[in-house]
Symmetry: C2
Subunit: 286 residues, 2 copies
């Protein structure tokens, strides 16, 4: 158990990644910095994974802005927007990038299936990223990795941490939560995700129909991510289940060209952007 801010040098700044190191971690001492690392940590920089929100720079947190301001090295993922980085665009919408070292790194937009080995191209991108970051940290530089939305939700940041961890290099990491595309889509469409004792499910829409049906059965609200390529199949399934009228699709949430589809049938056959989230609420009201 870790207790109290400031009590331990690694409170909030974890020693590696907890979800990976649960197994070897001894209960009761997990919050303490191992003695043999204290010295090295003093010299090394900190790796910050910072959620910059869904798109509108004003949806960044005060803390995210402060960390971006204070870090000289920005490690930015690029994949979207013609090779540009959406995360960089959001970050620099609030904090000037002048004087910053911008390390841009391309992560392939390929699906990762947990429990299976990742595509070598993806693995390679994580390893390259880890090397670049490690080198800056070793120089005593803090490195910030701005990531779209909330790092908790389908962010590359955790993979990069996992890879850094695989290299066996101890490092300080701090994760700053952000506004998720899910919460922002709910706000934009004015459709609450959980009320009272409701059950919420978040899944990629690419799952097979049978799994989606099972989860719809057991939940009150379901959020579909990664819907843009499977709209026809998904809307067909919702029609079968009598739920098409309960769905709302939010495209490019919080950006200038945000679109809200209150009739998801109309979105079928359209060129739906990658940044799209669908919320299906079974109970419309009390």
């Amino acid at each position: 158990m870790r207790q109290g801010k400031g009590e331990s040098p690694c409170n909030k700044t974890t020693e590696g990644i907890a979800w990976l190191s649960f197994e070897g971690r001894e209960t009761g001492t997990s919050g303490q910095t191992p003695d043999n690392l204290t010295g090295r940590w003093g010299m090394q920089g900190t790796f910050y994974i910072v959620g910059v929100g869904p798109g509108d720079p004003q949806l960044m947190t005060l803390k995210a802005a402060k960390i971006l301001e204070n870090c000289n090295v920005w490690f930015v993922p690029s994949a979207f927007e013609n090779g540009g980085s959406m995360a960089l665009k959001i970050a620099s919408g609030v904090v000037s990038r002048e004087g910053k070292t911008i390390l841009s790194h391309r992560f392939p937009m390929k699906q990762v299936h947990r429990g299976e080995l990742p595509d070598p191209e993806i693995k390679n991108a994580w390893q390259e990223a880890a090397k670049i970051i490690m080198s800056s940290l070793a120089d005593g530089e803090d490195v910030v990795f701005p990531t779209l939305g909330d790092p908790a939700i389908y962010s590359t940041g955790f993979y990069v941490c996992e890879t850094l961890q695989e290299y066996g290099s101890p490092f300080k990491v701090e994760i700053i939560p952000g506004v998720s595309a899910i919460g922002a889509s709910s706000a934009a469409a004015a459709v609450p995700l959980c009320l009272g004792d409701e059950r919420l499910v978040v899944i990629p829409a690419t799952f097979e129909d049978e799994r989606i049906r099972e989860l719809l059965e057991l939940s009150d609200v379901i959020v579909f991510m990664k819907v843009h390529k499977v709209m026809e199949r998904l809307v067909g399934l919702l029609e079968d289940l009598g739920l098409a009228d309960n769905a709302v699709l939010v495209e490019r949430c919080s950006l200038d060209d945000e679109r809200i589809w209150t009739d998801v049938r109309q979105a079928v056959g359209q060129d739906i952007h990658y940044f799209s989230t669908m919320v299906v609420r079974k109970n419309r009201c009390a």
Copy 2:
């Protein structure tokens, strides 16, 4: 479909609450302001439901801070912290409350079951809140309702909107998403909620064991809310399922006295705070 910011006066500022008005809403015109309301809206204030994040004022968004700054009337829910308002504490950690009209309102901490009529005491609190807010809006004042975490997740804000809507009074509402306790707990514990093609479930821990078992079967990560009163039962269930070691409990996330329990068994029998979230990740790593 609503398209493009600024195209319609009610883009982002919805005409009432979409999830309530889906039924009567005509597709294709849903984004347009009904002609007969345009005039009245011009005079009325706007009701802002603003997520202020999980506790650390620095986890507020820039937009939340700006709206709090610009609104003269703050309508703050109180229930926690000895009658004080946690949301007010967070908001005023960044924006001065000087010169603001603070309307404090007590919402009873009783469970609402969707699909059932709420407890009269709760319903009464919503109605009282709606009346007070409506009165300020009618005076042309903008009213901000700061709410803990993200308004999408178990916030009273939506109930108050629903009640305003029941009174038949048209009003402008804007919902500003915030950092959720869920995302913040994930960050604090460094446990990702979704990776690759994983399925996430969020439920109140008060659900019966059988439902929890079913959902655990179908999901990869499960987040339990409202765990403080049912820790013993919940941890027992996780032990039965061989998942107790995959759980982490975050108490008072992002606050000065935040506690992270990496062995949830140790939390059984302890006085766990209401602001607690448990994350259970079935697959620890790739």
